[in-house]
């Protein structure tokens, strides 16, 4: 009796040891290349950092860097508010669009494979340097505005069309600016579509068959099966989209901090800016997860 018990115990601890060995690379890396620089970032933000030939020196200056970032720097607060507002406007649209696109792509039709390949193309091409180059490029500017002032691919026509209904000008501007964002929205939804599509394909078809026998219409089974089954993924995608929008390389605040660290701002102030930015991201995510997790339905 005692023998077997002992053997079992050592087996579980053997398994535990193996598990620890598997995750050890990450734990070591986390300490050296994440936790350590993370603490350093906080230290730098409270100091005046001077690079010398053999290293760097730190002089403690308290909250001076934070004060400078908030009250002296003319762009930081403005960019922070701008980035936050852009995220708020974009996330619901991206989630809605990628959900819709995934439903489209999950249906059977001719050329589905090709359509999927094109929809996922932005995952491969839609990041980094090419986007930055596009923003300055003349030919893109010329073609995307289509010759009209401030319109996107269809911005101009949409504005003319809406004007006929005598809508207030502010409403028209809002709709037009949303429409102008369509290409951007589509191109930043790649991974979200992948995640939703994977979710749609994992719903057992027996659910739909059962509901069809019960007499449910397509509309009903969408709201009773598809939507609730995908709610956990909506949460995942909302979190992913927020992180993506906040840390994207073409984000104005990220660019400003990154470029500034090596030029006008210095390491100390740019670290103070990142830490406050990080606090904002963490707060936004905490609120979003709290609100959304109430509505999530877990199948098992």
């Amino acid at each position: 009796m005692i023998e077997t018990k002992r053997f079992r115990l050592s087996l579980t601890s053997q398994r535990a040891l193996a598990g620890i060995i598997f995750v050890l690379p990450f734990v070591i890396g986390f300490m050296l290349f994440f936790a350590y620089p993370f603490v350093q970032a906080i230290q730098f933000s409270l100091s005046d950092l001077k690079v010398t030939t053999t290293g760097y020196t730190l002089t403690y200056i308290g909250l001076e860097n934070y004060r400078k970032a908030l009250f002296v720097n003319p762009n930081y607060v403005r960019n922070l508010v701008g980035v936050f507002g852009k995220m708020l406007a974009e996330v619901p649209v991206i989630i809605g669009f990628s959900f819709f696109a995934a439903v489209l792509l999950s249906q059977e039709f001719k050329g589905r494979l090709l359509a999927r390949l094109i929809f996922f193309l932005p995952v491969i091409l839609g990041s980094g340097i090419v986007l930055r180059i596009e923003q300055w490029d003349l030919m893109h500017a010329l073609l995307e505005t289509g010759g009209t002032e401030g319109g996107g691919v269809f911005g101009g026509e949409v504005a003319n069309f809406l004007m006929q209904f005598k809508l207030p000008e502010s409403a028209v501007t809002y709709i037009v600016s949303t429409v102008e964002q369509i290409p951007r929205i589509i191109r930043s939804s790649g991974i979200q579509i992948v995640i939703f599509l994977a979710g749609l394909e994992s719903i057992p078809s027996s659910f739909y068959e059962a509901s069809e026998i019960e007499g449910a219409s397509g509309w009903e089974s969408f709201w009773m099966i598809t939507f609730p089954m995908l709610t956990p993924l909506i949460l995942t995608n909302v979190v992913y989209t927020i992180i993506d929008s906040f840390t994207a390389p073409d984000n104005t605040l990220v660019t400003m901090i990154q470029d500034g660290a090596f030029s006008n701002l210095g390491f100390g102030q740019s670290m103070a800016m990142t830490i406050m930015y990080f606090a904002v991201i963490a707060a936004v995510l905490a609120v979003v997860m709290r609100v959304l997790s109430k509505g999530v339905f877990y199948h098992d």
Partner: protein, 321 residues
């Protein structure tokens, strides 16, 4: 509601079925029409910038200025490609990008699979803490870590072990070290994908291997990994592509090395500094577009090769949880 339906059904079963059949065929016809329009439209919006790049990369200066040549070049020419090829030092930049992205992709794939498997299949104290930390690394803006890391790698003293610091900048070490330890760009996501995939795999195979006397590492390499190929394709593709397109991290750790994004970024500047420059701003648009396509071409090739795996992986990976 059910009884109502039944009553209706009993009233005139045949006619109801016929009319319902007509209605549904009509509706599905309308829907498939709407769907086609939507899909074609969205595809067009995605491809549109790519088309602009292709057409304007073949233009000459006259075509750019001439507004009648907005869509198609009047005299297609390779002058943009030739210039971009030389100014970007394309073969060198391509080689640098290829080696760096492959190194990063392979190392991140290995480390993230190991960690993902450890988190998915083993109970040990701190398992959920480690998983939480991996997710936590995702929400911290990358610059907050990369800028202190820049100084650590500039004066690398093996974390206090060595007296004389060495400079690891402008080597591949910063990338190798962070990738090896699953702490590279967005590795939290890769760990998440691998963990979810392994969690979703049935335990039978693994148990059989254990019964046959294989240890956890043999089981992992000979039984689990071969079945995890769909998830591994996604993880490799993501880490390769993100490294390939990366500008910021490369600019931080590899200032002097030429990868494709860095060469592309410097293209207009180099053109204006070069001998055969016309000093015409419009010229940079031809160069930028030709250069962007030259950066994207290998990725499109990779995507075309990997697409079957990729599409299959999407439905088979348990990213879903």
């Amino acid at each position: 509601m059910t009884s109502g339906l039944l009553a209706k059904k009993n009233a005139s079963p045949a006619s109801r079925i016929v009319s319902r059949f007509r209605l549904t065929t009509f509706m599905s016809l309308v829907w498939s029409l709407i769907r086609t329009v939507l899909i074609v439209g969205i595809c067009f919006i995605i491809i549109h910038p790519l088309l602009i790049k292709v057409t304007s990369s073949f233009m000459t200066l006259e075509d750019i200025i001439d507004s009648s040549a907005r869509w198609l070049p009047l005299q297609p020419s390779f002058v943009g490609y030739r210039l971009a090829f030389n100014l970007m030092n394309y073969p060198v930049a391509l080689w640098n990008s290829l080696t760096l992205a492959t190194l990063v992709g392979v190392l991140q794939l290995v480390s993230c699979s190991l960690v993902g498997y450890g988190l998915a299949r083993f109970k040990f104290p701190g398992n959920s803490l480690v998983f939480g930390l991996a997710i936590f690394t995702l929400i911290v803006p990358p610059q907050m870590i990369s800028i202190p890391l820049y100084l650590n790698f500039r004066f690398f003293n093996f974390f206090g072990l060595s007296e004389t610091p060495i400079n690891l900048l402008n080597t591949y070490w910063p990338f190798a070290l962070t990738s090896m330890t699953a702490n590279g760009f967005r590795n939290g996501l890769h760990i998440f994908i691998m963990r979810q995939f392994f969690k979703g795999m049935p335990g039978d195979l693994e148990e059989a291997a254990y019964v046959d006397g294989a240890g956890p590492f043999r089981t992992f390499f000979s039984v689990m990994l071969p079945s995890a190929i769909p998830a591994m394709v996604i993880v490799f593709l993501f880490s390769f592509v993100w490294q390939w397109n990366d500008y910021f991290l490369t600019m931080t750790f590899l200032r002097n090395s030429e990868t494709l994004p860095i060469a592309l970024q410097a293209l207009p500047e180099r053109y204006f500094a070069s001998a055969d420059s016309n000093d015409v701003t419009q010229y940079s648009t031809i160069l930028n577009n030709a250069g962007s396509l030259m950066l994207m071409a290998p990725l499109i090739l990779l995507y075309a090769v990997a697409q079957r795996f990729f599409l299959e992986s999407v439905s088979r990976t348990g990213i879903v949880g």
